[in-house]
């Protein structure tokens, strides 16, 4: 592999910072876009939590932020409440934890860790980012239109999402949502194909598949999941666009509006649910796996100890990836599906708990008798393992079709998936940012602020989502604009206030992160080449970014990336490019 010829020519500002084809710059672009989207996404959640915590109070801040259509006199409108919920979900799931997480770290780490000069196709990579940017702008812009953004929940089930008569957000807001998602899917597919090809074809000499860092395995499986499942969501979105605009009735049948019965006949909203969740469930692992992959890497590095059960970790990720395609029906137990089918989905869903348990135990065993450096990244990883366990165990309840009858769509579900998917992924993403900041921006972030950020985030995260399980056990349905219409929920008034306080503090505390992040980009101390004494190849590249990643030859790989504290070695780490000693066993 000789690409030496093209990393010397001078670049203009535009080709370097805007239409860059360098994977490191694209990773930065993804990250900063995702941070802005994330700021919007979590801010929205703080706004609707105000309504849920203090249902009778007026918050002038709502009117000044959202405008007088959305919150006349500071009282959030019930349609807009659903709009905020919908956009919060969409932005966090797709734009922050899919686009942002995979986009940033797959782009940054795949070429650096497999030992490649760049992605297989720099051009596709650049297009992928700009499509992501376009879709982010489209999605965010739907907040600024008079009738409001999409309001049908992030799953946008038809027929609610089809006719503006059912809710105002199903007009222009929904059109923007669908357009944005269509562009987003295109971006995600271009990215995914690129990741797969790069991992398979551009590994450096000696980098066999079983010497890949677990991050790369995670990105690899994630990309495969995305490439196989996102097209199905695309078809769902296109059919929905046709139902809305061209008078088809894929998802519509036997519907009566205020102007009488519609013509639509023969379609079924359940078809949409199948198409949506065929992406929707793999999507959970598209979000989780990169976070868990980075967690594996960081826990091993910061515990100064090899990851326990490397092959079992790969095996369990493959098993999770495979199983994630045959469990989507557990979102639909109560759609009236055949009970036998429900039983099958219960079985396959509960199977996922086995590889997940293996992963959790392997993480814990890696820390056992390690030498744990409490860097912010490591602390976020410990947090992520904790939330993965805490949210995972309640998944066992929701996977059980019989129990789903009494838990479905209650706050129990909200608590469950926010802990297992939301928190684990976001904590993993923060861990990745703190850990790889030296590679992203050649600077160090402030560790003490990182620590403070971790503690507030984990305390507030659990503070918000643990109580929600109990709201759910009390039968409280999710997506209720107010819980005060039913006296039976009055005894949860206090608990909702508690949740809202934790949510507000948790959201405000992210300012620590934003400040630390942007301050460190410009003013942070310069990083050394390998600040964490890690083994993988990215730490052999120069601190300042160079086009082509390595000056001169790409290093050859002789060992797996987890030779930490290997007996008989002087240092507690042995980078991958150090040849094995005579009669040294690989691992």
């Amino acid at each position: 592999m000789s690409h030496d010829t093209h990393h010397h020519h001078k670049e203009s500002f535009i080709t370097k910072y805007i239409f860059s084809q360098d994977h490191k710059m694209i990773a930065r672009q993804y990250l900063i876009t995702a941070i802005f989207m994330g700021a919007i996404g979590i801010a929205l959640s703080a706004l609707f939590r105000l309504k849920l915590g203090w249902p009778d109070d007026k918050f002038p801040i709502l009117e000044s932020i959202l405008g007088s259509d959305a919150a006349p006199e500071g009282l959030l409108d019930s349609n807009w409440y659903l709009g905020l919920v919908t956009l919060h979900g969409t932005i966090m799931v797709f734009f922050v934890l899919t686009g942002g997480l995979s986009g940033t770290f797959s782009n940054l780490l795949i070429p650096l860790q497999v030992g490649a000069r760049d992605m297989a196709s720099g051009l596709l990579n650049m297009i992928s980012y700009w499509l992501f940017f376009l879709s982010s702008v489209l999605m965010a812009s739907s907040l600024f239109i008079e009738t409001g953004p999409a309001m049908a929940g992030w799953t946008v089930y038809p027929p609610l999402s089809v006719l503006a008569e059912f809710q105002p957000g199903s007009g222009l807001g929904m059109t923007l949502w669908l357009l944005s998602m269509t562009v987003f899917i295109a971006s995600s597919l271009l990215g995914g194909i690129n990741y797969i090809v790069t991992i398979l074809n551009l590994r450096t000499k000696g980098m066999s598949m079983t010497r890949l860092p677990l991050t790369i395995w995670a990105f690899f499986i994630t990309a495969i999941l995305g490439v196989l499942s996102f097209p199905v969501l695309l078809s769902a979105a296109v059919l929905l666009l046709m139902d809305r605009g061209f008078g088809t009735s894929f998802y519509m049948s036997d519907i009566v509006t205020s102007s009488g019965a519609l013509d639509a006949t023969g379609g079924s909203p359940i078809l949409y649910e199948h198409l949506f969740w065929f992406l929707g469930h793999p999507e959970v692992y598209i979000i989780l796996l990169p976070a868990l992959g980075m967690t594996s890497e960081i826990i091993s590095t910061c515990s100064r100890k090899p990851i326990f059960g490397y092959r079992a970790m790969i095996g369990s990720m493959l098993a999770i990836g495979f199983l994630s395609f045959i469990v989507w029906g557990h979102h639909m137990f109560l759609t009236g599906m055949n009970p036998f089918l429900g039983g099958v989905f219960t079985f396959t869903t509960l199977l996922i708990a086995i590889p997940s348990a293996v992963k959790a135990f392997n993480f814990i065993t890696t820390i056992w008798r390690g030498n744990v450096m409490m860097t912010p990244a490591m602390m976020f990883c410990i947090g992520a393992v904790s939330t993965f366990i805490s949210g995972g165990v309640t998944g066992i309840i929701l996977a059980d079709s019989a129990l789903d009858i009494s838990q479905h769509d209650t706050y129990f579900v909200v608590g469950h998936f926010h802990i297992v998917m939301g928190m684990t992924a976001i904590l993993g993403m923060f861990a990745g940012i703190y850990h790889y900041f030296p590679k992203l921006f050649s600077k160090m972030m402030n560790m003490r602020m990182g620590m403070a950020h971790f503690w507030v985030t984990i305390v507030c995260g659990y503070g918000v989502f643990l109580p929600m399980h109990f709201l759910g056990e009390g039968g409280l349905p999710r997506r209720y604009y107010e819980n005060t219409n039913f006296p039976m929920f009055d005894h949860f008034l206090d608990l909702n206030i508690l949740i809202s306080i934790f949510a507000s503090v948790g959201v405000l505390a992210q300012v620590i992160f934003f400040f630390n992040f942007f301050y460190s980009i410009f003013r942070g101390p310069r990083a050394s080449q390998n600040p964490w004494n890690a083994n993988s190849l990215e730490w052999t590249t120069p601190v300042e970014h160079v086009h082509g990643n390595w000056i001169g030859e790409i290093p050859t790989v002789y060992r797996w990336p987890y030779d930490y504290s290997k007996p008989g070695k002087e240092n507690d780490f042995v980078p991958q490019n150090i040849p094995l000693d005579d009669n040294e066993e690989e691992h």
Partner: protein, 433 residues
């Protein structure tokens, strides 16, 4: 305005101060020759390790507090239906398996993080794998899950394959409310079709009469539109109305015609209307759900517009109501509303709820009221602006009380589709098959 200005200035000054502080900190570190953002001191590692332990204690404490406060009495009490007891039992067994796993694994995680914090002189154990250990934590969870799956599916099958036995009651969902229809003496709901839905026939029930009524209604509207359009046209054949409105009217006009044609073609079977649609004759439409204790019911659900999800929390029963298809759920209520209200736990809980409820009422300046326990039907699938207030009272009572309710209810509510009055209590034994 001034306050906003002051807030902005304060925030800005705060950040400037922060930047300066960080600068000083970094400079000082540089002078000392430390890489303070890359390496933690021993005391910092220890502090964070100790905080891990503190966090774990607080975390477990918070959960135990939540369980003690809300766990045993979340507000749904014991299940008030036959199958609900099975669900609750299954749920309890799941908790007994899950909670120890949760506490133990989290304790190990935080415990190890605390115990093995970084000390320069220590070396971690090189321990890349142990096949036996990994087999153990594959097989043990597999066994536990096998138990959970088998027990869960047995319960699921028991509930779901027991669906067609009870007295049939229809719940029709719309934005944002419910209409209830009892199937009456013959325990069969009269046929209904969405094309028949109108203000006078909200459920779209088909009878010879409703077919004729629908024709009249459609013809009337068609004529209305026709006359609006023809009276707003000038000599050149141009409409005086806005184009958008004309389009809308013409579209409605066409749609009404198509609807009438489709009713004629598929519903109006002229020869046998009298027999095919007569099961609606004894159907009764009501505004509340009254159920008889220990009587099996089969609820049938339809939706007028979007997906709704009828949710009876106390009966542990819910299933989606989907436009274009009929879903059903069977349940047998086992505790009357009165019995539930006199349960000491429920009484105590509702005393508490009354205090909270009326505190709020005072705060927002509404009249205080005494609220009592009631079973309730609510919507559990996002359906629009009124989603959070789609409620219907459900009353479980004895057979005598039920008969009394049928007896006492005003004419309006016991009117059947054929216009005749039905004395339900007399025919009860027949219907409960």
């Amino acid at each position: 305005m001034e306050i906003k200005f002051i807030i902005i200035i304060t925030v800005a000054l705060f950040f400037i101060a922060l930047v300066q502080l960080m600068k000083i900190y970094d400079l000082a570190a540089k002078v000392r020759g430390e890489k303070s953002q890359e390496k933690l001191s021993r005391s910092e590692n220890l502090l964070m390790a100790n905080l891990m332990l503190v966090f774990m204690v607080a975390f477990f404490g918070f959960i135990i507090w939540l369980i003690s406060k809300y766990g045993s009495n979340s507000g749904l009490y014991q299940a008030a239906s036959a199958h609900g007891k099975d669900i609750d039992e299954l749920l309890m067994i799941n908790w007994y398996i899950i909670l120890p796993v949760f506490f133990i694994t989290n304790a190990l995680l935080f415990g190890f993080s605390w115990k093995y914090y970084y000390r320069e002189e220590r070396k971690a154990l090189y321990y890349p794998h142990n096949n036996k250990l990994e087999a153990v934590w594959t097989i043990v969870p597999a066994i536990a899950l096998a138990f959970i799956v088998i027990y869960g599916l047995m319960t699921w099958n028991k509930i779901m394959y027991n669906q067609e036995k009870g007295e049939v009651v229809e719940v029709y969902a719309y934005q944002f409310g419910w209409i209830v229809r009892y199937s009456g003496v013959d325990n069969t709901l009269g046929k209904a079709d969405y094309k028949m839905v109108s203000s006078s026939n909200p459920l779209g029930v088909i009878t010879s009469k409703t077919i004729q009524d629908t024709y009249v209604e459609i013809d009337q509207r068609v004529n209305d539109i026709d006359s609006i359009l023809s009276s707003n046209i000038n000599a050149d054949g141009e409409y005086l109305l806005p184009e958008k409105k004309v389009d809308k009217l013409q579209e409605e006009f066409d749609r009404l015609k198509r609807r009438k044609y489709r009713i004629e073609a598929s519903i109006d079977r002229k020869d046998n209307n009298s027999t095919a649609y007569e099961s609606s004759n004894d159907d009764i439409v009501v505004q509340e759900i009254h159920l008889v204790k220990d009587q099996p019911y089969t609820f049938k659900f339809r939706s007028k517009d979007v997906i709704h999800c009828p949710w009876f929390p106390h009966f542990r029963a819910q299933i989606n109501a989907v436009p274009g298809m009929e879903t059903s759920f069977a349940l047998t209520p086992t505790i009357t509303t009165k019995e539930m209200r006199s349960d000491p736990d429920v009484q105590q809980h509702w005393e508490n709820i009354n205090v909270i409820h009326n505190e709020r009422k005072r705060r927002i300046g509404e009249p205080e009221e005494r609220v009592l326990f009631d079973y309730v039907l609510m919507c559990n699938k996002i359906c629009g602006a009124g989603h959070s207030n789609m409620q219907l009272k459900v009353i479980v009572e004895t057979q005598q009380e039920f008969n009394q309710w049928i007896e006492n209810n005003g004419d309006k509510k016991r009117l059947t589709f054929s216009g005749q009055e039905v004395n339900w209590s007399k025919t009860k034994s027949q219907a409960s098959l």
